[in-house]
């Protein structure tokens, strides 16, 4: 067999594999969309009968400890805490964990909320970097600030869990803003099914372009720049078709670190957030699944599409690349750490479907896509390219991508309608089409690089300076906490 023959066979084989892969992936997307459509309709109908005011006033609603890990967040932290202090909920405490900030994060908090040191005694259920001091607010008795040595986001969250007093913990990013009723909405699954629900996550939307006053989003609008708009479409697709679908199949593997709520005792039982991955939020949920499945304990991890957490999205390619690099590295690390779950019937639908989906399509997908472009060129050079077939396949692929984006916009339109104007709708459509010509390929390339970095064991947070939530600073960049794969 000559090398050209071998290459020929490889190219033909790869092409056949790509077709099968394409059909499988898109069938899953279609199925998820169908499930999500029904689920969103059901959710919207039930929202009419929510009675959030009663929950807010009730002594029977579970109290919540809201954890806000902060590292060098001097520009946003005061606004974030202000937004949290005014959320509608009966009993809750806010615990800001200052994770070894080198800027004036602690000073800003001390000044704004009249903090004073407290000799607070608490149980160190999860080991963390040393806590230097615990502060309480004179003006807001439910605000606590933990000042500790730098240990990373996972470590900060673990310190917050140790100090927390209430049975539910809610993690919120320091650069995010949640809506008034977000806690009431996200806690609903715990009230409806208190025994089985162990975690719930809410939808995260992009704040770029919106107006924020006093820690509240007062005007919703799409960003002006292309890159964040692409991400708006991407987030809609990821949350409204992906997570809603996986959640209804009882296989939700991601709850955004930007806004998620957990039973504190369950998290302590599995040792808290892990330092071993770059995406502690994903890993925690996967570990919860693994732990509870092994215990054969009935449980639910739920996605609630209504509570809204607004977060910043990168506005430059450099920052976007860092963000996606971290997410994809984290995905790889998580899949590797929990590889025993793959195709393992012991872990039910999670082990047989959701986790393999993440490994095969989310993790490896970018390689196959990138390799596909290389093989097309190779096929052309070898004279193997069936041009009409290639063009048709390309058209089908692009059209399907557009269809998925438009489907997500449809879901948004029939349910929550956060972007009310015609201009916004046209923009979403346009960018839903355009993202298939360059943006998608770019993300794949970033993910391939992330894999390479993970293999070389390069870990970096890719931090960047923040601009704050002032009205004059509406143009945003860089929330680093949200993950938006297609699922």
């Amino acid at each position: 067999m000559t090398w050209t023959r071998l290459l020929f066979d490889l190219v033909v084989g790869f092409n056949a594999f790509v077709v099968v892969y394409f059909v499988a992936l898109n069938s899953i997307y279609l199925a998820l969309f169908a499930v999500s459509l029904g689920e969103v309709f059901r959710f919207v109908r039930r929202t009419f009968f929510s009675d959030y005011r009663q929950i807010m006033q009730s002594d029977m609603a579970w109290p919540i400890s809201v954890l806000v890990p902060a590292h060098d967040e001097e520009k946003t932290i005061v606004e974030t805490v202000r937004s949290l202090l005014t959320v509608n909920y009966g009993e809750f405490e806010i615990i800001v964990v200052n994770d070894g900030s080198s800027d004036f994060t602690l000073a800003r908090l001390t000044e704004a909320y009249e903090l004073r040191r407290m000799d607070r005694v608490y149980k160190r259920s999860i080991p963390t970097a040393p806590v230097r001091a615990v502060y309480g607010s004179i003006v807001h008795p439910n605000l606590t600030v933990v000042d500790k040595g730098k240990g990373g986001k996972a470590d900060a969250l673990n310190a917050g869990i140790n100090v927390a007093r209430y049975p539910l913990i809610c993690s919120i990013d320091a650069d995010s803003v949640i809506e008034d009723n977000a806690l009431l909405r996200v806690v609903k699954p715990f009230l409806e099914n208190p025994v089985e629900t162990v975690a719930a996550g809410g939808i995260v939307r992009i704040v770029n372009g919106c107006e924020v006053r006093d820690g509240r989003v007062t005007r919703i609008a799409l960003p002006d720049r292309a890159l964040p708009i692409f991400q708006v479409v991407e987030y809609l697709r990821a949350f409204l078709t992906g997570r809603v679908g996986w959640s209804s199949l009882q296989s939700l593997l991601i709850i955004s670190g930007a806004f998620g709520i957990y039973k504190r005792q369950e998290v302590i039982e599995i040792g808290g957030y892990s330092h071993d991955t770059d995406t502690e939020d994903l890993e925690l949920v996967v570990r919860l699944h693994e732990h509870l499945r092994r215990k054969k304990q009935p449980y639910r991890v739920v996605f609630v599409p209504d509570p809204v957490c607004w977060t910043e999205a990168p506005e430059s390619l450099r920052v976007l690349a860092r963000q996606r690099n971290r997410w994809h590295r984290g995905l790889l690390q998580t899949v590797w750490l929990h590889k025993r779950m793959l195709f393992n019937p012991r872990y039910g639908a999670v082990g047989l479907f959701a986790f393999p989906y993440f490994a095969v399509f989310e993790l490896i997908g970018p390689f196959i896509e990138t390799a596909g472009y290389v093989v097309v060129v190779l096929s052309f050079l070898l004279g193997l390219l069936d041009t009409p077939f290639f063009l048709l396949f390309l058209a089908a692929s692009v059209l399907y991508g557009i269809f998925l984006s438009v489907a997500a916009i449809l879901l948004e339109e029939v349910s929550f309608r956060r972007y009310p104007g015609w201009v916004d709708l046209v923009k979403l459509f346009t960018y839903g089409v355009l993202e298939n010509f360059g943006y998608r390929q770019l993300l794949s390339a970033m993910k391939v690089k992330a894999f390479w970095d993970a293999v070389r064991r390069r870990r970096a947070w890719g931090r960047m300076q923040r601009r704050g939530f002032g009205v004059e600073d509406r143009r945003r960049y860089g929330g680093l906490s949200e993950r938006t794969s297609s699922s």
Partner: protein
Amino acid sequence: MQRVLVLAILSVTAVFSALTLLIVAGKAFREIRDARRRRRRNALEPLVLAYAHGDARSILPALGGGVSRRDRPVVEAILLDHVQRVRGVERDRLGRVLDELGFVETYLAGLSSPRWWVRARAAEHLGLSRAKRATPHLLRALDDDAYDVRLRAAKALAAAGGTAAVAPLAKALSEPNRFATIRIADILAGMGRPVVRELIDVFPHLSRHGKLAALDILGRIHPPEAVAWLNERLADPHPDLRARAAHAIGAIGATASAGVLREALDDPEWPVRAMAAKGLGRLHDEEAIPLLCAAMRDREWWVRANSGEALRRIGPAGIAALEGMLDDEDRYAQHQACLVLESAGMLERRVAELPSAGPGRDAALSLVQRFVRVGQTARLCELAATHRDPVVRDALARLLPLTEAAEEVVR
């Protein structure tokens, strides 16, 4: 293969186009409809309100003899909005309009719809209309398969059916869904003392979490007549029920029950001890001070925390006891006492007296020295660095171990 691809492309294009059309057409339709409704609302709302505030026997003449099919949703929205905002005669008149214009009949029919959300909405609206004739229908709806419908029916009954709704509502506390229980509890608590007897009667037949909800409701209503019955619940075999009963007794403020709460501080289960401590604080029971001091040595954090807080609530005698706890042998108790004294502002008040002469200064000195001995000096160090009075800062700097104060100043 190519044919399959062409077929796929055509299908996706068709679906894509249909979706796009659906979105655009849906949005356009919604906006046109909403604009028309806003316009009609502006025209019709004054007429409806004029009727509500007037004494005309019927609204029909004001509306030109009837309501067109297109205006019905507008009039219905106006009525449902305002019926929730007004009280008294106006409320009754708007409720009667809902009946007069046939909306109540539509809602009654809606209760038989195969779709749960239609039934739920119908029940909700019947509650707003307060139509008495809806009561038997709503009672039947309490057995609906969908819990949202049961809830709406319960709420509607409370609004329309008066005390007739209490018994079914109390029974509905056994709904397995905590979300539902919260809402029903809220409805019952809102009805006030007429529900007390019914709650007590139905209590033995409720599920465990229904019983918990019933005890919570009593705690919210504060009925003195239920105190004796609540005291008996402190002997319930289930610790959660004992804890809630203790909580309710404290919430009612029944000082005569202080004795049973003191006994509950010895309960083998910590939730009961924690709630008993909380209750004693609410009752400002000075006799309980020694027992609360002992409870500050409890193994469970919540019992220690609630006992410390209870001592603070009791007043000067409790605060003195807390200061005394700084000399206790139990470190947990010492630390909890420090925290309560700090958060109550006692430490700061005492420290401010350091520059004075006489007993105030002695008390301040004693307290600071005891804090130092216990090792809880974080707040003191901060005060040593930031207190507005330089004399206080100096005094504290001398009293505190040198390294801690120096570190704080550097920090």
